[in-house]
């Protein structure tokens, strides 16, 4: 039957037989049953439920071979239900000393599967210790399996398994020194490479290694691996030893080893990317990309740039992709020019699957690290020329934005696009950019030879027959503008252009038709044309849509992470490049206009929906003036505006138009809300995002952005162990100029002991500094520590007070308490002050599961099933502080299904202050809404953020009051 299945036929009819074979008493039948089931069914299949019981009998039975079969099957296809019913039996098997290694190693992996399906199965007291015992195992088969299990456990929760760390190092040492390894476990002379790899993988999940002895031993071993691996003839031996080597490299990176060892690693990688063996080359490139995340090796990596560029031309696409990724990652201001030029050159020879990615990356890099803007324009134009099909609209919109915002650039860009247009074959995207730029700025070139309006028009018009309907409107606008700039008016040109407008007045495409009609009408107005078709005003600054796109693009995940990394490091670099005071609205009659032209292509898609009723309205005969409330009117709102003022019904139309522009202002404001408009930036530096929201988010997770404004980004990463905490502040300068007079002052509350390491006075351009901060919790309290942070950028002095997410719940450690322990504890803590009860009113109404989730996210572990009433929640946790040590806290919340806004909360712990503080803390969380309500979408910063800078710096009490918004 399996054979039939493999040939691709449907074998549903046999599933039942297969499952029933499992319960057969004879070995061969059972074996076939198991194997067929595990191949044909997946974990969600209904028939599997039927088998659970039989499988369980096999597992707890005495027959070893049956045990093996059952474990294998569960290990391969076991699902959640299996996890719930079988986990304890499997654990018993794994630990029992009477079992043969054969069974135990299967049990280990089976448990791993169950753990993946349901992480609660190993939440048993003392499991960590037993795990540590398992690592003492002599049999390497069992050890390999246990190590796999450990890797999964540790990746989920490393804190519980500290005790395993030294054992891992010991195992690794034993393997690396080849001590006491049976012959059959060596693979081409290497002692079990798989186990080595797994052990190192497990070690990577522990944040640091504190014990100096263990650390030293580990580094010795790593050193040995790094130095002792050479390329050998035998492929398999080579592979195996390099597998170990690469894992060692990853571990070294993770451990933040000394500089010397790092540069040794980079040197090794440099050697790898030059070897002939493609696998090693591939991995060398990949690991180098990973290495970029380590702070100070970039310089060393740059030395290998030439070699990496050669890899870009490798015959293997996997390797090319890696090389591209690496180049993208290592690019910065110093080498951007070389890299981008290299990418451009490569673009013409690259294969189609890579071009889109390549052009997107080149565009982003060009934008991010452009040494000067004319270079940027050059690059993008070349890009469009070479790979026009792969250039998304975003890219050319961006060029247009840059050109519009920089006066010096305009003549240059205009001349440049004209050059491109003169080529025989031009890509349509190029026509779009050129039409736009020439329409706007060709008059700046008028004095040069061959650039008279007429000639420009001729060049553009030549392209008209070749382009699609999306480009024609842009061309039409360009014509209208050229005509406007021709002073004194050239009769011949005018008649030519009018003829074109006339021709398109009956075009089937609504957008083209509308434009033609309108421009024609406008042209006849004469002088008014001047105002209406004035130069586009500056674009408001915004985050590059490319970077946004890169964040969402469906690149494969490795790339995606690289892009994200970049985006996080320098989120709004592009903004800096055009840091000029805008001449907003000076030349434009309606300030909302600038978007209209650039948005054309995207508007057209919406046009499809409205085209029918538009055609209707035009049949009604109002050809010269389209009703301003018509959906498409806002497209050309800026053009219609003044026209309406001139029209006879004056006041009414104007007000109507204002309504339209107001409407249009809406989406614009939303667009801009992510960043602060430039005008406001001049007054005071405004934070990006809501500080209060960021704080609340950080209360629930351990890393994220604490604060961000146009100049600096403060990220935070925290680790908590018992009553100790270690936070690292990442201060990132987003600019090309250094930030000076940087000061960070801790204002700790009385219950926290905090030590902030030295913060440098200056942060160099585009650099990130890390400042570790040690926190010790002395006693329970809800007070919050405050970081007083200030810096100077140019003439701006910025001072912010930031709450640090070193809050009460960070010192909690969820712990499940079974019923038989819970109730005696609960009873032994009787009455105040150890046990407090309060009826809380005004609770934010939420369904019970949501509340349970909320509590869980505060590290209060919900223990289901302890309270018979389903409307009640019972939770438990341990609190750590220096005065209380580890203290068990028990919580019971009784809700009223009829009235969700009130509940009764009972708390018990061995310490009166703790009980009180924790009660107040939970109350705060339940009453207030921790994720602040959505603020108005307007660009005005939220009230909390605004209030912060005004608080007098030396008054912690007032400060806290202000912060607790």
């Amino acid at each position: 039957m399996l054979y039939i299945y493999m040939l691709g036929y449907d074998v549903d009819f046999g599933h039942m037989e297969a499952v029933s074979l499992i319960s057969a008493p004879k070995y061969p039948e059972k074996q076939v049953g198991y194997i067929v089931t595990s191949c044909l069914l997946n974990e969600n299949h209904d028939f599997l439920r039927l088998a659970i019981n039989t499988v369980r009998n096999d597992i707890i039975g005495r027959n070893e071979t049956f045990q093996c079969l059952a474990l294998t099957m569960v290990g391969n296809i076991g699902g959640r239900e299996f996890a719930e019913s079988l986990a304890p039996d499997v654990q018993k098997l794994l630990l029992s000393s009477s079992c043969r290694p054969l069974v135990r190693k299967k049990a280990a992996l089976c448990l791993l599967r169950l753990f993946r399906k349901n992480p609660d199965v190993v939440n048993v007291d003392g499991w960590a210790d037993r795990m540590a015992q398992l690592l003492d195992e002599r049999d390497l088969g069992v050890l390999t399996s246990s190590m796999s299990l450990l890797v999964a456990l540790v990746s989920n929760n490393h804190e519980a398994y500290w005790s395993c760390l030294p054992k891992c190092v010991k195992t690794l040492e034993r393997l690396a020194r080849n001590q006491d390894i049976p012959q059959e476990y060596t693979y081409y002379g290497i002692p079990s490479p798989w186990l080595q790899v797994k052990t190192m993988r497990a070690l990577q999940y522990f944040p640091t290694i504190e014990d100096p002895y263990t650390r030293r031993t580990l580094f010795e071993v790593l050193q040995r691996i790094l130095m002792g691996t050479d390329v050998v003839k035998n492929v398999n031996k080579n592979n195996a030893s390099h597998a170990v080597l690469f894992e060692a490299l990853a571990l070294v990176m993770h451990l933040d080893a000394e500089k010397e060892m790092m540069s040794q690693c980079v040197a090794l990688l440099g050697k790898f990317i030059a070897v002939r063996e493609p696998n090693i080359r591939y991995l060398g490139l990949e690991n180098m990309t990973r290495m970029l995340m380590v702070t100070d090796v970039q310089e060393i990596i740059k030395r290998h740039q030439a070699q990496i560029i050669t890899s870009l031309k490798d015959p293997d696409i996997s390797i090319r992709r890696r090389a591209l990724d690496l180049l993208y990652g290592m690019c910065d201001v110093t080498n951007a020019k070389d890299i981008v030029e290299e990418l451009l050159q490569y673009l013409s020879s690259a294969d189609f699957t890579m071009r889109e990615e390549l052009s997107l990356k080149a565009a982003i890099l060009a934008e991010k690290f452009a040494p000067d803007l004319s270079w940027y324009v050059d690059v993008i134009l070349q890009l469009i020329d070479k790979a026009g099909d792969f250039i998304s609209d975003d890219i050319w919109f961006r060029v247009v934005q840059f050109v519009t915002n920089n006066d010096d650039l305009q003549p240059y860009a205009a001349a440049k696009v004209k050059e491109y247009l003169e080529k025989p074959a031009v890509h349509e995207t190029m026509v779009k950019v050129s039409a736009y730029i020439l329409g706007e700025y060709s008059h700046l070139l008028a004095r040069r030879p061959g650039c008279s309006p007429k000639e420009i028009f001729a060049i553009l018009h030549e392209k008209l027959p070749t382009v699609s309907t999306t480009t024609i409107p842009i061309l039409l606008s360009a014509y209208a503008k050229i005509l406007m700039h021709t002073q004194p008016p050239d009769q011949e040109l005018q008649s030519q252009i009018w003829a074109i407008f006339n021709k398109y007045e009956s075009c089937i495409d609504a957008e083209i038709q509308q434009r033609a009609v309108e421009y024609f009408a406008l042209c006849q107005k004469g002088a008014a044309l001047m105002d209406i078709l004035a130069e586009m005003p500056k674009f408001p600054e915004r985050k590059s849509s490319l970077i946004k796109r890169a964040e969402y693009s469906e690149a494969d995940t490795a790339e995606q992470s690289a892009i994200k990394l970049r985006a996080q490091q320098q989120p709004s670099n592009a903004l800096v490049v055009t840091d000029q005071p805008p001449a907003n609205g000076a030349t434009s009659p309606v300030p909302v206009g600038p978007l209209s032209l650039v948005m054309v292509p995207s508007m057209i898609t919406t046009e499809d929906h409205t085209s029918t009723d538009q055609a209707l309205s035009q049949q009604n005969g109002s050809l010269t003036k389209v009703d301003p409330q018509h959906p498409s009117a806002d497209l050309l709102g800026d053009l219609l505006g003044p026209l309406a003022i001139e029209g006879p019904p004056g006041a009414t139309v104007q007000s109507e138009h204002n309504a339209v522009s107001g409407l249009e202002g809406g989406p614009d404001a939303v667009d801009g809300s992510a960043i602060v408009p430039v005008e406001e930036q001049r007054n005071t530096v405004q934070p990006i995002g809501n500080i209060a929201e960021r704080f609340h988010a950080l209360c629930l997770k351990d890393s994220g952005v604490l604060y961000e404004d146009p100049y600096i980004q403060i990220g935070i990463k925290a680790e908590w162990r018992a009553h100790h905490g270690r936070l690292v502040l990442f201060l990132g300068n987003k600019n090309t100029a250094p930030l000076v007079s940087v000061q960070a002052l801790m204002l700790p509350p009385a219950h926290l002991k905090m030590e902030l390491s030295l913060v440098p006075d200056t942060i160099p351009p585009r650099a990130q500094v890390q400042c570790p901060l040690e926190v010790v919790n002395l006693r329970p309290s809800r007070d919050v520590a405050v970081l007083d942070f200030s810096y100077k950028f140019g003439t701006n002095m910025v001072n912010v007070k930031l709450r640090l997410p070193a809050v009460l719940n960070k010192f909690l450690q969820p712990i499940p308490v079974p019923g038989e322990e819970f109730f005696p504890q609960w009873r032994s803590l009787s009455g105040p002050p150890l046990k407090l009860q309060e009826v809380v009113r005004g609770v934010r109404p939420m369904p019970l599961p949501e509340m349970a989730n909320l509590l869980n996210s505060f590290r209060l572990m919900i223990c289901p099933g302890l309270d018979p009433n389903p409307n009640n929640l019972v939770a438990s946790t341990t609190f750590y502080s220096e005065s209380t040590h580890a203290m068990l806290c028990l919580i019971r919340i009784e809700t009223d299904p009829a009235d969700r806004t009130q509940l009764r909360m009972t708390l018990a712990s061995g310490d009166p202050t703790l009980t009180f503080e924790l009660k107040e803390f939970i109350k705060e969380q339940l009453i207030t809404i921790p994720t602040a309500p959505p603020q108005s979408p307007a660009p005005a910063p939220p009230p909390a953020a605004q209030a912060t800078p005004q608080i007098p710096p030396n008054d912690p009490a007032a400060l806290l009051a202000g912060l607790l918004s």
Binding site: L2, M6, G8, K26, Y27, P28, Q31, I35, S38, C39, N42, E43, N44, T65, T72, N76, G79, L102, K105, K106, L109, C110, L112, R116, L140, G141, T144, S145, S148, P182, E184, Y185, Y187, S192, P193, W194, L195, V197, K198, R201, N236, N239, A240, H242, A243, F246, E247, P278, N279, R281, Y282, L283, P315, D316, S318, I319, R321, D556, T557, A558
Partner: protein, 162 residues
């Protein structure tokens, strides 16, 4: 972790599949189609790794058979490559210079061996001898059971004959 193991012949015929992550029937056939397209078209002397839908596929060609394993993007590729080789060596030792036909006619054996090497997408046993020993033990069990049935039947026949 290994998400699935595939054995594909050079003509694109599937010889063995084993899924450690949950894939529905439809997804399974889609994966097979896509991957055989990707892998079979790659030329010789390229590296053994292919990036595919955010995962990595490590493959190796032995004679006319492609052995593919799909892993997480942060997995150790060379390690997997050696697991493949380890599997092939065990097959080789068991069948005595294995060929594609061995796997076609004894596909169930190939599954048993794979089960002895991998469980839930992790390496279980890295010693060839242990694997071969336990597979042989299973075989002898099957043989014993067969003989028993055989002898019971012959007994019955004998009884009937009397």
């Amino acid at each position: 972790m290994i998400h699935f193991v595939l054995l594909i012949s050079r003509q694109g015929k599937v010889r063995l599949t084993k899924w450690y992550s949950t894939y529905s029937k439809k997804e399974r056939s889609k994966v097979l189609r896509e991957l055989s397209g990707v892998i079979l078209t790659r030329g010789p002397r390229l590296c053994n790794f292919v990036e595919w839908r955010g995962l990595k596929v490590v493959y190796k060609r032995y004679a006319s058979l492609y052995f593919c394993m799909c892993i997480d993007p942060d997995g150790n590729e060379l390690e997997i490559l050696e697991i493949i080789h380890h599997y092939v060596e065990v097959l080789d030792r068991y069948f005595g210079s294995v060929c594609e036909l061995d796997l076609i006619y004894n596909f169930h054996k190939a599954y048993y061996i794979l089960d002895e090497i991998l469980i839930s997408g992790e390496l279980q046993e890295s010693s060839k001898r242990t694997v071969v020993r336990s597979v042989a033990a299973q075989d002898s069990l099957v043989e014993a059971a067969k003989e028993q049935t055989g002898s019971t039947i012959s007994n019955i026949i004998a009884h009937a004959a009397k």
